[in-house]
Symmetry: C2
C-alpha cells in the first residue's frame, strides 16, 4: 500500500457547460489524521448534476470547491486507518468524499457505515444513496405525498426521478407520468419502472399539450429536477393544493441568471393554493436508515428497479461528469476507482 493518493482537481471556477479541461489530476501524500478523521480507499465515486453549482465559485447551498482543491463527491469505500471511534479499519462506508483514489473524512459531515444487507454496495450511491433518499424524502416531506395523488416527475429516467416515480406508484399514486429525453428512457420508464406514461421532451413539439394529455386530471405533485421553464409550463396544470418539489435545476445550472427563464404563471399559486418548496436531502439524514430499510425490501422483491452505469477508473471522472449535461446519461453514473 502506497501512502499517496491521486485526485481530480478543479483548475478554475466553471462558467457555462463544464468541459474535461476544467479538471486536472494531482497526487498528494496521505494527510496526518487528526482526531475523529479517517481515511478510506474509494471503491466507487459518483458524478452528480448538483455538483455543477459548487464548481462555479458562486455561493450556493453547499460550500464551493475552490480551484486547486480536490473536487468533492459521494464515495463508497473501505476504511484504511481511523482516528474516529465510530469507524474501524475495514468498515465499508459511504460518505461525502472526493473524486480521488482515497477519501478523507473530516470528522463532521455526511458519512455512515453500510448496513450488512444483501445489496450491492454501489446502490448506496444510487437508489439507496443520496439520489434515492432525495426521491423518498422529496415525495414524503416536501411533496406531502398522499395516496391517490397524480404525480409528474421530470428528469424521470435519472436516479432521483426514476426512484420517485416508482415509490409514488408503490405508495398508491393515482397516476405517475415521467418526462425524459429519449425513446429508450421513455420505454424503460413505462416497461420496467411502472410509469403510466412517459413523455420524450426532445421529440415532443408541444410539451404542455403532451403533459395535459398525460395528466387529464392535473398534477398534485410536480417532482422537478429541471428548473424554471418546466415549472412555469406545469403551473397551470397543477391541481388544487398542489405541491412543487424544487429538487434540482439541471437546465438552469449552466445558464447565466439573466438568461434563465423566469416563472410568470405565479397567479396559480393563489388560484390553486399551490406550495413550492426547496429540497436538500441532507436535512433528512436522521431518517435515512428507516427509508433505506423500507426500500431495500422493495429492491429485494424486485419492486424497485434502477439503472446504473459504471465507468472504469479514476481517469474517467471528468468525462463522466461532463456527460451528465449532454442528456446522454441514463441511470446513476458511477466511477469505479481502484481495484478491490
Amino acid at each position: 500500500m502506497t501512502n499517496s493518493m491521486r485526485y481530480v482537481s478543479l483548475k478554475a471556477n466553471i462558467d457555462g457547460l463544464p468541459k474535461e479541461s476544467d479538471f486536472e489530476f494531482k497526487d498528494a501524500p496521505f494527510p496526518e489524521l487528526k482526531e475523529s478523521q479517517f481515511i478510506a480507499e474509494n471503491h466507487f465515486v459518483s458524478v452528480d448534476p448538483g455538483m455543477r453549482s459548487r464548481l462555479s465559485g458562486v455561493t450556493g447551498y453547499a460550500p464551493c470547491v475552490k480551484p486547486g482543491e480536490a473536487v468533492s463527491g459521494f464515495a463508497i469505500g473501505r476504511v484504511l486507518e481511523s482516528c474516529n471511534a465510530a469507524y474501524k479499519k475495514g468498515d465499508m462506508v459511504t460518505m461525502g468524499g472526493s473524486w480521488a483514489s482515497h477519501s478523507v473524512f473530516g470528522g463532521a459531515g455526511f458519512a455512515f457505515k453500510l448496513p450488512e444487507v444483501d445489496i450491492p454496495a454501489s446502490l448506496f450511491l444510487g437508489v439507496l444513496g443520496i439520489p434515492g433518499m432525495t426521491s423518498y424524502f422529496g415525495l414524503k416531506r416536501i411533496g406531502r405525498f398522499q395516496k391517490g395523488d397524480h404525480i409528474l416527475v421530470t428528469s424521470a429516467a435519472g436516479p432521483v426521478g426514476a426512484t420517485a416515480g416508482q415509490l409514488a406508484k408503490h405508495w398508491g399514486a393515482a397516476s405517475v407520468t415521467g418526462i425524459a429525453g429519449s425513446e429508450e428512457k421513455c420505454n424503460w420508464l413505462t416497461e420496467k419502472a411502472g410509469f403510466d406514461t412517459a413523455i420524450n421532451y426532445k421529440t415532443e413539439s408541444d410539451l404542455a399539450g403532451a403533459i395535459s394529455r398525460a395528466c387529464p386530471e392535473g398534477v398534485d405533485v410536480l417532482f422537478d429536477n429541471v428548473g424554471n421553464a418546466m415549472i412555469d409550463t406545469v403551473l397551470p396544470m397543477m391541481r388544487f393544493n398542489g405541491r412543487i418539489i424544487v429538487s434540482g435545476q439541471t437546465a438552469d445550472y449552466n445558464v447565466p441568471l439573466e438568461e434563465r427563464h423566469g416563472i410568470k404563471n405565479t397567479i396559480e399559486f393563489i388560484a390553486s393554493r399551490l406550495l413550492m418548496q426547496g429540497l436538500v436531502v441532507f436535512d433528512d439524514i436522521p431518517n435515512f436508515v428507516k427509508a433505506q430499510n423500507e426500500m431495500s425490501i422493495l429492491i429485494q422483491e424486485g419492486k424497485l428497479v434502477y439503472k446504473e452505469k459504471i465507468f472504469e477508473g479514476l481517469e474517467t471522472l471528468p468525462s463522466a461528469f461532463c456527460g451528465l449535461f449532454k442528456g446522454e446519461n441514463f441511470g446513476r453514473q458511477l466511477v469505479k476507482v481502484g481495484s478491490f
Copy 2:
C-alpha cells in the same frame, strides 16, 4: 321602502388598467327570494384590488363577473327579508354581496352575522374583515409565523399589509419592515403602526439595497401583496427555511402574462430551503371568529390601528375601485351606500 335595487354592472371584460367607463349603473326589481336566500340593504361596500382578476374574463381563483352582471363585492348591511333560518330580518351581516344598494345572499358562500361588540361595523370590511383575516391567517397558516422572525411586508400601508405588520410585531417578530408608496404612508407605518422600518419604493432607486439595509439579518417571512418582481428581488435575502406568502399580485393584475416579470432567483429555494405558498383566506372561514375576537381586543386596547377611507354614495364605486391601481389610496377603501 322601494322594492328595487340599483347596482354597478360590468360593461365588458377589462383588459389592462380598469377605468370608470368599464362600468355602468342599472336598476332591477328585488328578486323573488328562494329557500335559504336573504336580501339586505347595504350599508358599506368595499373595493378590493383582488377583484381586478375577476373582471378579466380569465378564470381565476374565484368565478368571474360576467358583462351585464352586478359586480360582486364584500358588503355589510341589514337583513330586510330572509328565507334563511340563520339570518333574521334586522340582523347586521357581512357577506359576499354586490356593488349595489342591496345584496342578495344566494344561500351558499360567505356571510356571517356581526358579533355584538363595541366595534364600528365598517371594520368588519377591513381590519376585522377579509383583509384583516388575510393578514392573520397569512402569517399563521401560510407564513408559519414564529416568535423572533424577521418580517417583510409589501403594500404595507394597505389594509392587509398594515395589519400583518402589526400582528407580527404584537406576536413577537424580531423586526418588521414595510414597503409602501409614499412618505405619508411610510411615516404612518413607523409612527402609528409600530413598523421598525418603512421603505418608500417610489423614491428609492435601489430597492434591493434598501431592503438589505433594513433587514441586515435577512427575511424569514415575506408577506407579498405585489407580485413577481418583488418576490424575485427579495429571494436572495430570504433566510434559511424562509416562507413567502403569495397573498396578492397588485403589480401584475393589469399586465399581460407575457409582459410580466418572471421569477429567476429560484436557486434560493434549494439553497435556503424556501417555501412559497398561495393564500386564499376563504379557506380559513371556520376560524374567523377566533381571530376576530383576538383582534377586537387589540383594537379596543389601541394596539392595532387601521386607516379607512369612506367614499359617500353608490355612484363613487367605479372611481374608488379604479383609484386602487393608481397607488394613491391609503387604508381600507369603502363606499357608504344609502342612508342608515
